[in-house]
């Protein structure tokens, strides 16, 4: 399955929120949309979900204009919230049935997910009695209970502790393994880096960077090396290239990418003790800051 957004424009009054964005997501791979607060992530997601219409542009599923009636979406909205005063099991079954499931299947699926997220003990409690993090998990069950083909998660990690974040990460990976299409937004780079193959950076309503995360990194300047060793000072003093120590590594700036082998020869010939040498790749955070910095 392929989800395409083409040239989407959206304004709220004077505020031009999305300025002709185009995105593409495919089954089995996660697309992470990154952006600072107010960049337009949630607006883009709400347009995909049909919460409100776009002013211009089109959305396609497998090349055909989207028909939301025939797609099983799983949606985790940014604004979390269910029925605080209702029994958890009851409302989960209700939401599953709204998605078209019959009661038996709904109950079965709800029980499966409650179990998967270690929430079975709360099934007969009212939602409001749960902690915020646990309420988030219930909300996640609402998203996944109908076994959706397209999973849209708006800031899924906000409010989760590291253990629960790991749980969510595992679940998303399982869904991807089942060839589901996962589309999510976040400003928490570490999670995105963990399992997103494709990213799009949204800044002030424009896509400023879009593509495979590894390719993006590979396209960066590869003339910087990162060296791990027991005695960094010794290496620093014995090499010709400009270098500095950062944390537990030595960063070496080559004159050009082609000098890599020359540098390796130097290490070998000078018999310097090295644990690891690799090309320095910017982290997603570095890339993100680079592309969105001017708006800070």
């Amino acid at each position: 399955m392929k989800l395409e957004l083409k040239n989407i424009n959206k304004s709220f009054g004077e505020n031009h929120v999305l300025k002709g964005i185009s995105l593409e997501a495919t089954s089995g791979k996660a697309l992470g949309v990154l952006g600072r607060n107010g960049a337009g992530k949630t607006t883009a997601i709400r347009i995909v979900m049909g919460v409100f219409p776009q002013d211009e542009g089109e959305i396609f599923i497998d090349g055909k204009p989207i028909d939301r009636k025939h797609i099983n979406f799983g949606y985790l909205p940014e604004e979390r919230g269910l029925y605080p005063k209702k029994i958890i099991l009851d409302q989960l079954v209700y939401f599953a049935m709204l998605k078209g499931m019959n009661k038996t299947d709904a109950v079965k699926s709800v029980k499966h997910w409650l179990d998967r997220l270690n929430m079975s003990e709360y099934s007969n409690k009212k939602l409001e009695t749960l902690s915020k993090g646990n309420q988030q998990k219930i909300q996640l069950i609402v998203t996944l209970v109908s076994d959706p083909d397209i999973i849209i998660l708006d800031e899924p990690f906000s409010g989760l502790d590291p253990v629960n974040a790991k749980l969510l990460e595992d679940i998303v990976k399982e869904e991807l393994a089942k060839n589901k299409l996962v589309f999510f937004s976040s400003h928490q780079m570490n999670y995105i880096e963990e399992f997103c193959e494709n990213i799009a950076i949204l800044n002030k309503g424009n896509i400023v960077l879009n593509g495979n995360i590894h390719e993006i990194k590979r396209n960066y300047d590869r003339s910087k090396l990162i060296i791990a060793a027991q005695n960094l000072e010794n290496i620093k003093n014995n090499i010709d290239e400009e270098s500095f120590i950062e944390k537990d590594n030595l960063i070496v700036q080559l004159k050009s990418e082609a000098d890599k082998n020359k540098f390796l020869n130097q290490i070998v010939s000078k018999n310097l003790d090295v644990d690891e040498i690799k090309v320095f790749e910017p982290s997603l955070k570095d890339i993100f800051v680079e592309y969105t910095e001017e708006s800070i």
Partner: protein
Amino acid sequence: MKQFFDILRFELKGYLKNKVFVVVTVLICLIIAISLSFPRIKDMFNIDSSAKKESTQLEKILIVDNTGENKQYLETALSAAMPNNEFVFDNKSLDEAKLLVNNDEYASVILIDNPTSFTYLVKNLGMYDVTSDIVKEIFKTNYRLNQFNNLGVSPQQSQSIFLKDIDVTTIETGQNQMNNFFYTYILMFMLYMAILIYGQLVATNVASEKSSRAMEILITSAKPTSLLFGKVIGSGLAAFIQMGSILFSAYIFFNLNKAYWANNFVINAIFNMPLYILLYCILFFVLGFFIYAFMFGAVGSMATKVEDINTSSMPITLLFIIAFLIVVMSMSSGAVDNTIMKISSFIPFTSSMAMFVRICMSVVPVYEIIISVVILILSTLFIGYISAKIYRVGVLLYGKSPKLGSLIKAMFHK
């Protein structure tokens, strides 16, 4: 359609599982059961209560008769007319009498100046105090008897002249408004309460889904028409179940205690209402409820917080209260077929009550009823459609309320 029924079931279950709803319904049924069984219960304790009555002191009334002529006559007549009072004859001045009444030594004082005038002294004049009227009647009769006597008519003759009553036969070709008034009033009042209470509940329900942010999930999972219709019809059924249980318990307990109420005109008038009235009541309740509940739902969707509901639903509530007042005023004046009622019975916002009352208390041509019902059905569908549109737009608006123009534009955006 499956979605609509899922929503309907969920909403209805929400009411039926709500403790307040259950407790209130049971409580009202219980109150009705006890009230209707009251004469039977009273009978069971009758021996005790009659014993109690003797021990309680009779209210004392002081009679100051300055004419000094009527003591014997007054004593018999007063004791016969007011058996629960004790009458004391004594000579006091006006000031002394005032003091006695003020100190609660006597419930009241009657100062007789001459056979055709007296002064009635009482501390607080009660709303239903008829003592002076009774005394006045006694004086009047006494005066007439004396005058007739002076003219040579014997007391027996004048007595028979006084007591002669006129036989009246009334044949209603239409409705007996006196009989119908009570059940019409009760049914209309139930209609009024149910629409207002449940309408407000629909509004609160929608607004709380919005403020708890469950709305975004709902609106992306289900069609807005299913959501609004499911909610409104679910609430309607809950109201219906509540009203039904109340009426049913009233019916059961009236029949159980029928013998005890044989002489009560009001109660008998209520429970002997014709079946067609009840059916009309159900029809107008359903239609009247939906037209208002849809509007309340739309209003609820526009509110940001549950607290806003009271102010934003004010126009609808006022419209409804005005309709209620028009009908009640026409009812109590007896002129249920006046022009304003005739007009009101074709306006969808008032017709559920106005037409219902006219059917109960007057004779309305069938074609008028049909026209009124058709207008009401069509308007209900139209209001339902518009409300679903407003609901779709309203539920996702947070913060300030939208301007009317942009709202209408958004409503018809595909």
